[in-house]
Symmetry: C2
DNA sequence: CAATGTTTTTGATCCTCGTCAACGACAAGC
DNA sequence: GCTTGTCGTTGACGAGGATCAAAAACATTG
């Protein structure tokens, strides 16, 4: 089932979206301009929206956007504020969360390199985006980006494919939140994080966790204490090992069994 | 906040999408052909994907699709099966649910007239769609529909807007599932259903509930018993009245306070 | 109408997870 | 070094909702 979700990024009803194979040397058109974009050197260009663009289009995109660094713990944008920009995360990790008036919080997702922010093209942000680690984002004005979509149908299709994928993930998360026990939630979370890192750094049993236990709890509908208890229990049972800033998965099959659809 | 979500259907970064104002008499091109589509007579054409199309395009759409009726309790498509079609619901209500191997179920949504099924353009269905009432759907082959998207950018934009909206709703539902009490969940559900009916039949305190208590429980991450208890409690407290096949909302402000973001 | 199955309601009991409290580990700053 | 703050862990306890059981309400069928 998860494999189906995964496939959505590659092939959809919108047709196959292959990584862009460039025919002209990139970056040839411009001198070194610091705040601007340098898409050719981008490590994750094959995993983000950009891969739907040919060199010319990439140039156009570079022109309307700029890259910006954010320190850890800084806020990229806030729930409710006017959404003037859309973003493409190129490095670091973000926490996307919604706050209830009484302080309860729901983390709706964690963004990783290649993720696009602002798929919900609403006038105001429906959640807050905070940097968990130092992060780098390409930002584009909503209107500029929207104009580009008008004559770059491949970009729109690529975006649609990403939105579809996000929707499928959101529905998976509904199952986790609504119908799984604390232990299963943690297992699903760890397996899911592992899979996401695999896309970027290749498969590994070492899973970095840049977020706090509180963040994990708010993502899974649990309290910090329950998250901590479950993780220490899994460690006691030799299913995982807790290491600084992450975990090492010892018994992946067991975790996958717990998390399985 | 909910109002922002609502707005997404009207105005997005993709530009304003106004209901189609037709300039030519519709249906003039064809004789009465029973199984085919008759989009002009469609009651909810202004609320579905179709509203992104001009008369010519609508004709093209009619040609690749066909309308089909489904009796109550029948299955439109099943989780895991190959997804050969995409659908547009024109009448009735559907339950969209995911089943875990051990029988636990999560209802990921209820579809109402105007809703599009298959936004997650994956090769296989990620959930099952069952008719709660007799239903009518326009169905289009995935490939045919995909081909249309290639030269109907407005259709693609419309679809993208709908996907964005769905994503925002899914994230709202995450908050409900993860961070709300049983009472708040029921309140959020009733207020949400009321809002959805308002789009079709206009605002009313009478909210039809075509789904069972079990369905509601599986949607909110509760058991039947809890749903029943909470609803009878709300009835006892004069917040709602339980009527055959639905509820009447007596204290909407109280419900909205319970459900508020 | 009786017979059967489904849905809803209600009660009694149980248990998972939340709440409250405290402590230890660790990093940042003075 | 000490202080302060954040984060993670652990324990004791309780509550919200699940589970189990059964009856009532309701629809469907012969």
């Amino acid at each position: 089932m998860e494999s189906l979700v995964e496939k959505a990024l590659v092939e959809t009803v919108f047709g196959r979206i292959e990584a862009n194979t460039r025919l002209v040397p990139c970056g040839a058109h411009k001198a070194a301009q610091s705040p601007g974009l340098d898409c050719c050197d981008c490590e994750i260009k094959d995993q983000s929206v950009c891969c739907a663009l040919d060199p010319d289009e990439l140039d156009a995109l570079e022109r309307i956007g700029r890259s910006q660094g954010y320190p850890a713990k800084s806020t990229i944008f806030e729930q409710g504020r006017e959404a003037g920009f859309v973003y493409n995360l190129t490095a670091g990790a973000l926490r996307l969360s919604k706050l209830l008036p009484d302080g309860r919080r729901q983390v709706v997702g964690f963004a990783m390199p290649g993720d696009f922010l602002g798929l919900d093209f609403e006038p105001n942000h429906s959640y807050t985006a905070d940097a968990l680690t130092p992060a780098k984002l390409c930002q584009f004005s909503r209107v500029g980006f929207s104009d580009m979509l008008d004559d770059k149908p491949r970009l729109l299709r690529r975006l649609m494919a990403m939105a579809s994928h996000e929707l499928a993930l959101a529905q998976e998360q509904m199952v986790v939140l609504g119908r799984r026990t604390a232990e299963e939630k943690i297992a699903a979370f760890l397996v899911g994080m592992r899979k996401r890192y695999a896309r970027i750094h290749g498969p590994s049993v070492h899973v970095p966790l840049p977020m706090t236990r509180l963040d994990i709890g708010d993502y899974l509908g649990l309290t910090v204490e329950t998250v901590s208890r479950m993780m220490t229990r899994m460690a006691r049972e030799k299913t995982i090992v807790i290491v600084p800033d992450g975990v090492r998965l010892l018994d992946v099959p067991r975790l996958e069994r717990l998390a399985e659809v």
